[in-house]
C-alpha cells in the first residue's frame, strides 16, 4: 500500500521517508488538521456546510448534511473547497451513495490474514470468473470453483461481500448485475469460517 506523501512545509521528514510506489504516484494527503499550512493562519474552518432552508434539486433528498455523509470522521473538510457548486456536489454524492452508475465502482477488498486492504473497480469486470481470477492473482491464493449447492468447495478461501443491507453474502449467488449494484465491499474469508459457508 502506498503511503501518501503528506505535504509539510516545515519538517522534511516526509521527504526522506521510505515508501512504496513510484515517485509521483502518491496520493497527496489532505492536511489532517487545519487546511492552512502557513503558521500565520487563523482559526480552523467550519466543518458544517450551511444548511439551506429549502432543499436542493438533486436525487438524494438527504443531501443537506453534505460533506459529513461520506467523509471519514477523522478528516476535517474545508468549507467550499474544492470550489464545486452545490448542485454538482450533490449529484456526485448521490451517485456515490447509490453505487449504481456507469463506471468507476471501487470497493475495498480484505483478505483474512493479509496486513492491508486493496481496492478494485468492479466496473472493470464483466463476470464472476473475471473478478475471481483477479482476486486470486492479487492476493496469490486459490478460490476454486463456485457451485450453487456447495459454494466454493475444495478451497481454503471463500469470497464474500457486504451488500446494501449490511449482510455478508457469498459471491456468486446472485446475477452479476445485481451483485454489482449491491456490493459495498469484499472480504475473502479463510479457513474454517470459509469452509463453514460451503455446507
Amino acid at each position: 500500500m502506498e503511503r501518501s506523501m503528506a505535504f509539510e512545509s516545515d519538517l522534511n521528514l516526509k521527504a526522506t521517508e521510505l515508501r512504496l510506489g513510484l515517485p509521483g504516484s502518491d496520493e497527496p494527503e489532505k492536511p489532517s488538521t487545519t487546511p492552512s499550512v502557513r503558521s500565520n493562519k487563523r482559526a480552523s474552518p467550519e466543518i458544517s456546510e450551511e444548511s439551506r432552508s429549502k432543499g436542493s434539486s438533486c436525487v438524494s433528498s438527504k443531501v443537506e448534511s453534505g460533506e459529513r455523509d461520506s467523509a471519514p470522521p477523522a478528516k476535517e473538510q474545508v468549507v467550499g473547497w474544492p470550489p464545486i457548486r452545490s448542485y454538482r456536489k450533490n449529484c456526485l454524492r448521490a451517485k456515490k451513495n447509490d453505487q449504481v452508475d456507469g463506471a468507476g465502482m471501487y470497493v475495498k477488498v480484505s483478505v483474512d490474514g493479509a496486513p492491508y486492504l486493496r481496492k478494485i473497480d468492479l466496473k472493470v469486470y464483466k463476470s464472476y470468473p473475471e473478478l475471481l481470477e483477479t482476486l486470486e492473482n492479487m492476493f496469490k491464493l486459490t478460490i476454486g470453483e463456485y457451485s450453487e449447492k456447495e459454494g466454493y468447495n475444495g478451497s481454503d478461501f471463500a469470497p464474500t461481500y457486504e451488500d446494501k443491507d449490511g449482510d455478508w453474502m457469498l459471491v456468486g449467488d446472485v446475477p452479476w448485475d445485481m451483485f454489482i449494484s449491491s456490493c459495498k465491499r469484499l472480504r475473502i474469508m479463510k479457513g474454517s469460517e470459509a469452509r463453514g459457508l460451503s455446507c
Binding site: F7, K41, P45, R85, S86
Partner: protein, 610 residues
C-alpha cells in the same frame, strides 16, 4: 446599417442598403469648437440621428464609453439603450437605473458574490430580486427579458413577474435560490409570449414536475427550454405535446426523469433542435427501440450541442454517432466515462470546440481529446470524487499537457487535478499561448510541485508571461508572494483573479492591486493578507466591481478605515459565530452609487464612512 469604424469621438457608418452613403458623426472636439466658436450645440446632428446610430451599439462597454463623451451623447445613449447589464445588484438601485434608462426591454442582474456558490456566504445575505421587479413593473411594464445570476428569487416574485409583464419572453435563472417549482408553474401559466425558460443549477425546492403541465394548450412560442437540473418527474405526455406544438423550439434540455424511450419520441417531434440535453441514458431499450433512437438522432441535422447523458454507458454511446460530426459543444460532466469510452466517442467528434468531462476519463481520455479534437477551444475537467482521498484517480498534469499538444486553439481551461508541476504548466502555455481563461484547481490546498517540491510560482509566472490575453485566472497549489509579483508584472489584461490558500505576506496582494490595471474582480480566501494589503487598494476599488476576502488577516479596524477613506465604497463584514471581535472574517467591498444597502441581515455589518 453597419458601423465600420469607431474611434474616440467619431464614427463612420456604411449604409449597405442604399448605395454607399457614408456618414461621419463628430462629437465635440477642440478643433470643432475652434472652427465654430458660436455653436451652442455640441453636435451638429439631431438627437434622433444620434440615437439611431447609438442604438446599433451592443456592447455595454462601448455604450459606457459613448455615454461619457458629452451630455448629448449621454442622453442619446440612455434613450437608445434597451438592454442593461448590472454586474452587482447593490452597485445601483432600481430607481437609479429606471431614471437613467427609460426604455429597457432586457435586464441581466447578478447578486451574491461568487463564493456563495461554495457556501461561503450566509444564507440570508440578500440579493432579493423583488424590489427590482416592483420598480420594473411601473417603469418597464414592457420588459421582455430577465436573466438572473446568484439572486434570491421567491415564488411570489416569479408570480409577480408572470402577472405584471404581459410581453415577458425570456427567463434565465442561474445559481439562484429561494423558489420552488410552484414559481415555475406561475411562469408557465401566465407568460403567454414566453420564448425562453432556462433554469440552471439553482437551489430550488423541487416539489413536483407539475409546472410543466401548466403551459396552456394554445401556447406555442417556446424556443428554449432547459429544466435539466430539476429532478422531479414531469408529465411526459404534457412535455411531448408542448415540444410538438412549439415549432420554433431550438434548445431542449430535459431532466433525468425522461427516459431514453421517451427521448426518442421527443426527437421525432423536434428534429430541428440545435441544442439537446438528454434525460437518463440508462441502457434499457429493446433492439428495436435502440434502432428507432438511432434513426431519430439521424434526423437531427442541426444539433451542435449535447449534454445530459446521465448514466450513459459505452454500450449506448454509439447511438449518438450520427450527430457527433456536427457537435461543437459536448457536456459529459455528469457522465462517468472511462478513457476508452471517451476516446471512441471523440473519434466521431472532429469539430468539437467545447468539451466538459469528468476526471474519470483520466489522462488517457485526455490524450484522446488531444488526438481527436484539433479545434478545441474550451476544456473543463470536473472531479468525480472531490472529497475521497483514498482513491488514486482523476487526471494529472499529463492529461492537460497531452491536450495542449493536440489542441493549439485552447483558450479556456478549468482543470481539477490532484497533482501538477511547474514544468507541465510551462509546456501547456507554450503550446497554447492564447489562453483568456486559465482556472487551475490543484485540489489539495497549498500543494507544491509534486516532482520538485517547490512552490507553483513558476507555473503561474509562465501563464501570465506567455498568455498576454489572459482575462481570468484562478490559482492554486503552494504559492508564495512571487506568484503575485508575476501577476502584477505581466497580467495587464487580467480582469478576474481567484486566490485560495496562497501567498506569504501583504506584499503579494499589493503587487496585484498595483500591477493589474484592468482588474475588476478579486476574490481571496484563506490567505495571509491583512490590513496593509487591503488598504493598499484604496484608490483601486472604485475601478473594480468588487473585492472579497475571507479567512485572511484583515481586522475590523482595517475595514473601518477603508470605509472612512472611501465613502463611495460599500464595505461589508460578515462575522462568524465565536470568532474574535476584532477579526473581519469575511469582507466584501464594492463600489456603489446607491449607498450602503438597507436590507443587510444582522450577520452582515455595513461599515459606513460616516
Amino acid at each position: 446599417m453597419k458601423i465600420i469604424c469607431f474611434h474616440e469621438k467619431s464614427f463612420t457608418i456604411l449604409n449597405t442598403e442604399t448605395e454607399f452613403r457614408v456618414f461621419t458623426l463628430m462629437g465635440p472636439n477642440p478643433k470643432m469648437k475652434r472652427e465654430f466658436p458660436d455653436s451652442t450645440r455640441s453636435s451638429p446632428f439631431p438627437d434622433e440621428v444620434l440615437e439611431r446610430v447609438l442604438s446599433l451599439l451592443q456592447s455595454p462597454k462601448d455604450r459606457s464609453a459613448v455615454s461619457l463623451v458629452c451630455k448629448d451623447w449621454y442622453n442619446a445613449e440612455s434613450w437608445s439603450r434597451t438592454h442593461v447589464f448590472i454586474g452587482n445588484c447593490y452597485s445601483v438601485s432600481p430607481e437609479i437605473v429606471a431614471r437613467r434608462f427609460p426604455i429597457i426591454k432586457s435586464v441581466t442582474l447578478k447578486g451574491k458574490p461568487r463564493f456563495s456558490d461554495f457556501n461561503l456566504v450566509p444564507e440570508n445575505w440578500g440579493a432579493d430580486v423583488h424590489p427590482w421587479l416592483v420598480v420594473f413593473a411601473t417603469k418597464y411594464p414592457f420588459l421582455e427579458e430577465l436573466r438572473l445570476k446568484r439572486m434570491v428569487v421567491s415564488d411570489e416574485s416569479l408570480e409577480f413577474l408572470a402577472v405584471n409583464f404581459p410581453n415577458f419572453k425570456v427567463l434565465s435563472l442561474f445559481s439562484c435560490d429561494g423558489f420552488s417549482t410552484d414559481g415555475l408553474a406561475a411562469i408557465a401559466t401566465h407568460c403567454k409570449s414566453l420564448t425562453q425558460l432556462d433554469i440552471q443549477e439553482n437551489g430550488i425546492e423541487d416539489k413536483s414536475g407539475g409546472w410543466l403541465s401548466c403551459f396552456p394548450e394554445n401556447f406555442t412560442s417556446l424556443e428554449v427550454l432547459n429544466f435539466a437540473n430539476l429532478n422531479t418527474d414531469v408529465n411526459f405526455d404534457a412535455l411531448e405535446k408542448l415540444v410538438s406544438r412549439c415549432k420554433s423550439l431550438k434548445v431542449l434540455k430535459v431532466n433525468k426523469s425522461v427516459s431514453l424511450e421517451n427521448l426518442q419520441r421527443l426527437l421525432v417531434c423536434a428534429p430541428r433542435l440545435t441544442e439537446l440535453g438528454t434525460g437518463s441514458f440508462m441502457p434499457e431499450l429493446t433492439g428495436r427501440q435502440y434502432a428507432e433512437l438511432e434513426t431519430a438522432f439521424n434526423q437531427c441535422k442541426n444539433l451542435n450541442t449535447l449534454s445530459g447523458l446521465w448514466e450513459a454507458t459505452a454500450l449506448y454511446l454509439p447511438v449518438l454517432y450520427p450527430i457527433c460530426s456536427s457537435l461543437t459543444f459536448l457536456n459529459l460532466s455528469y457522465t462517468f466515462l472511462q478513457s476508452l469510452e471517451l476516446a471512441s466517442l471523440l473519434r466521431q467528434c472532429p469539430r468539437l470546440r467545447r468539451l466538459w468531462v469528468l476526471d474519470t476519463v483520466g489522462d488517457k481520455g485526455l490524450e484522446a481529446v488531444g488526438s481527436n479534437c484539433p479545434l478545441l477551444e474550451e476544456l473543463r475537467v470536473f472531479p468525480a470524487d472531490p472529497f475521497d482521498e483514498e482513491i488514486i484517480h482523476g487526471v494529472t498534469e499529463a492529461g492537460l499537457v497531452a491536450v495542449s499538444y493536440g489542441c493549439r486553439r485552447l483558450h479556456y481551461v478549468l482543470y481539477f487535478c490532484r497533482q501538477m508541476t511547474n514544468a507541465a504548466v510551462a509546456t501547456i502555455v507554450q503550446n497554447c499561448p492564447d489562453f483568456t481563461h486559465f482556472r487551475l484547481c490543484i485540489m489539495n490546498p497549498g500543494q507544491p510541485d509534486y516532482l520538485t517540491n517547490e512552490p507553483m510560482d513558476e507555473a503561474f509566472g509562465a501563464v501570465v508571461r506567455t498568455c498576454t490575453k489572459l482575462q481570468r485566472l484562478s490559482v492554486s497549489g503552494l504559492l508564495t508572494d512571487l506568484t503575485f509579483k508575476y501577476i502584477g508584472q505581466y497580467a495587464k489584461n487580467l480582469e478576474t483573479l481567484s486566490v485560495a490558500f496562497a501567498g506569504s505576506s501583504d506584499r503579494g496582494m499589493q503587487c496585484v492591486l498595483e500591477g493589474c490595471t484592468k482588474l475588476r474582480k478579486l476574490e481571496i480566501r484563506d490567505c495571509p493578507f491583512g490590513n496593509v494589503a487591503l488598504l493598499s487598494g484604496l484608490e483601486k476599488y472604485e475601478s473594480m466591481r468588487s473585492l472579497w476576502m475571507s479567512a485572511c488577516n484583515v481586522t475590523m479596524n482595517g475595514c473601518r478605515l477603508l470605509a472612512r477613506e472611501m465613502p463611495r465604497l460599500n464595505v461589508e463584514v460578515m462575522k462568524e459565530d465565536g470568532s474574535d471581535d476584532s477579526q473581519a472574517d469575511k469582507v466584501y467591498v464594492y463600489r456603489s452609487v446607491a449607498g450602503p444597502r438597507r436590507d443587510a441581515p444582522p450577520c452582515v455589518l455595513t461599515l459606513s464612512g460616516l
